[in-house]
Symmetry: C2
Subunit: 180 residues, 2 copies
């Protein structure tokens, strides 16, 4: 069970064109409320992210690595290592990464931290099960896209947490052909 759990702007951006999240971090919310991070994270057994997300996390955390779970970083670059962190670098096909994550997660869910294109790659491989978004009350007009693919989703639940609208979707597949 791979879940893309992320915040997004109302107009579908993960970050602004300079990869800033300052528009996000000042929004009021309750980590323990609906769609909150803590309850989600308690069910996660492994994480995966792209290289931009990895570098953002390191910069944001002052060079420290915040996750104790096994982590995969999809990258064709040669990123910095973090002492003591449980991180594997990988590139190319996402399917063996998904298999290795599943084996490492001990029956718990897999978290796709970001970014959008990596989510699209998992979706194309039929391996993205859920998209859970916290929609910030902001439009940016430009930036890093949430999920740059044509996909059909199914709404499972929605709710409000502070300034955010939260929504959980099942990924049902590529967008149906137009019926007109």
């Amino acid at each position: 069970m791979l879940t893309y759990y992320t915040a997004t702007t109302l107009d579908g951006f993960l970050a602004d064109p300079e990869d800033s999240l300052d528009w996000l971090l000042r929004q009021p919310h309750d980590e323990d409320g609906p769609f909150g991070f803590d309850a989600f994270m308690a069910g996660v057994g492994a994480v995966v992210m792209g290289s931009t997300t990895y570098e953002w996390v390191l910069a944001h955390e002052g060079g420290n690595w915040p996750y104790s779970l096994p982590a995969w970083v999809m990258t064709s670059r040669n990123p910095a290592l973090v002492d003591g962190a449980d991180i594997r670098f990988a590139s190319g096909d996402v399917r063996p990464v998904h298999a290795a994550m599943t084996a490492a997660a001990g029956g718990r869910r897999l978290w796709l931290v970001g970014g959008g294109d990596l989510a699209g790659q998992f979706a194309e491989a039929g391996l993205l099960d859920e998209v859970v978004v916290s929609i910030a009350p902001v439009t940016l007009g430009a930036g890093r896209p949430l999920l740059p693919r044509r996909l059909d989703l199914q709404l499972v639940e929605a709710g409000v947490n502070g300034a955010f609208v939260g929504a959980r979707y099942r990924v049902t597949g590529p967008l149906l052909e137009d019926r007109s």
Copy 2:
């Protein structure tokens, strides 16, 4: 009170790159449910739209004009007229259009039908009061942007209607400067 009431994809598109709404029109919903069209429209006294929206409406309605309310179409093109329809063409500054709509609306609200850039123009002039979205369970990855500006919003209410998440926002202004 000018409200931008529209459907959007989860990734912030009003229409696909060919201006198709086929991904939208097949989604189940209740016109009388939360954020439904009928209750909204009952409070509207005048409408405004851009030229792409105007041409889409005409094509979608087989050349007929579906609105009896006074309508403004912002266009620098020379669009087709519709016999018997209460339509004014305008271009340039949106402020005199807003004033004329307010005078015509008899105290009722103004509906900005689309598109996104026109919404941005009203927002820049400080004349966009509300954004009400029905978020379809679809990502497109490309298309006509919902609101191509940096804006701060304030969530007023949210709910579910069929396949859609509905949300109402107050426009609070241009995006705050980053505080980092």
